[in-house]
């Protein structure tokens, strides 16, 4: 029952629902819940962005990815950020960090001790490098992997062919 509630909470928090409060900015998630969050996004083009507070290139690209989501949201595009920070840092580092630097961003955060268990949901052969992003088409299939700090144009080029016409 607890698991059902947890999955429901993730889905409610990430699929529309009431406006985010400070407490909603960060949503602890296990791999099954992450899988469910992706399944709930079928019919949309999703950019899954794995990031961490300790990854400077991640933090450099996040503002542009947030802008990208705003730019193409009406065409069915969504950014799904996933923090791979250590679960022990959830309340002391990650939540205050988000509130201070990225108050517009709602992000999942791994609850499992192993980073790879989260990324493996979309890529079984992840090489443990951050930042790593995956473009999923509206059937949930991974269409592109972008790794390392990339210019926003590369993200745009990867998602545009998959979006609905304006």
């Amino acid at each position: 029952m607890q698991r059902v509630l947890a999955v429901t909470a993730v889905l409610v928090a990430l699929v529309g629902g009431p406006p985010a409060s400070a407490g909603d900015l960060l949503i602890p998630t296990d791999p099954a819940e992450f899988r469910a969050a992706l399944d709930a996004r079928r019919e949309r083009v999703v950019l899954v962005n794995f990031w961490a507070t300790w990854c400077r290139p991640c933090l450099k690209e996040l503002p542009e990815l947030i802008s990208l989501e705003k730019k193409y949201a009406a065409r069915g595009f969504e950014l799904l950020a996933v923090s791979l920070d250590d679960p022990a840092d959830q309340e002391t580092i990650v939540r205050p960090f988000l509130a201070k630097w990225f108050p517009e961003l709602r992000s999942l955060m791994r609850r499992s001790p192993d980073m790879d268990s989260m990324v493996s949901v979309v890529d079984a052969a992840w090489n443990e490098v951050l930042p790593t992003s995956y473009v999923l088409d509206n059937s949930g299939r991974v269409r592109a992997r972008l790794q390392g700090g990339k210019p926003v144009g590369e993200f745009e080029a990867a998602i545009l062919p998959l979006l609905a016409k304006p």
């Binding site: 990854c55 400077r56 022990a88 840092d89 580092i93 001790p113 790879d116 079984a124």
Partner: protein, 459 residues
Amino acid sequence: MRHSLPLAITPLVACSAIGFMAGSSVGLAGPTLNFGEPVAISAADGRGMGPDIAVGADGVVHVLWIDKAPPPAEPSPEDVAAGHTHTATDQLWYRRSAGPATTGRIAALSSPVRVNSRDGEVWGFAVSKPELDLDSRGNVHVFFTGNDTSEKTGKGLLVARYTRSTDGGASFAPGRTLNSAATNDLSAVMHGGFAAAHAFGTLLVDGDDVQAFWIDTRDMTEKDTAGAAWRAVSRDGGQTFGPDHAAYADNVCPCCQLSAAKSGDRVLLSSRVTYPGGFRDSAVGPAGAGSEQFEPPVRVGEGQWKIEGCPLKRTAIAAADRNVYAAAYTGGRDPAGVYFSRSIDGGRTYLPAILMHPGAAVSDSPAVASAPNGTVIVAWHAKTDGGRRVFLRGSTDGGASFSGVAELPAPAGISAYPELDIAPDGSAWLAWLQEQQVYVVRVTVSPGRDGSVAGLRTP
């Protein structure tokens, strides 16, 4: 007490004569890897990570690891004031075999000993791990990254910490900081608001020389985020250290842990260097005996990995006489994965690199150990048809050829982040992370039945 393992330990599995998993090139005549009994080192209810292992001249096996316990519900006001809110639960632990471990079985282990003397002192994780080394008197030397607070700015720092045990691992001295104070303030751009970092280090002990190395951000700016390799040296067995100084400052990747080895009278220090074009490739810098300055690092393995990110990838090195062995992940070759390179001229040049695990979906986090008799063992974690498992290859001819790929006979689940050291008898001891528990096992490599070798031949 969290660490409550009984002194009498229970072996899990008796294993030997591992089957090979590589392709058809692996022949029965090739070297064979044999495994002893995997032994749990850290507590089953803990959250172990980042193990390191060293075997003394007396055959005693020493293991060091981090235990990252769940955080307290609320950090204490004292911890908040000291900037230690996020690390107060990291502890550094140490155990050793009760005597020489010369067979495939450790009969007994010491009780776990906490290495750090105060809570909140330790900062580390699987790929920024503490390191230990031993001297000939049985003293245990430890390098770890620690938390501190800048007297100047009041902001958090990551500092290069050292401690030692002079009573055979029964207790450790209070840690001391080896780096001099940095004056720059990177708190606006660095994780956790740290003003400076002196982290991702390693340790090399040789006689009375204790050399500690770390990656230093004191010359880093918002625009130029390269680090530098720094060093502090003790000539009296770790009792005192001289002033720290740059070993080399050539665009060192700030998050790829260093590794050190000795080849003859030369000290070798590996890092990743960002080369023109943005290629972040493995490099090994040599220094002559007593030299304060390293020579320019030699690029190793033709990785050609262009990455503007956080690789968190160490280049593992080992040396025996004039042979130097390096193993590292690269994403710049097809296929990506762990590649092995060797030098036969003391690290001045390296032969072309070879892929260690053909067919793996991904391979990463290598460790390498070598002995003067030509034994070379490389371990890494990889995925073949499921989660990560530890794999190995062994050589009896100085890395000229290798056995096929053998999977470590570990318990079910995820096995990852291997570390290796060679024992005086030429066997190797492997430490790794099994789910959230640290294990060790003895590994031996024997030549093929007819004296020939099969499997992977290196250039």
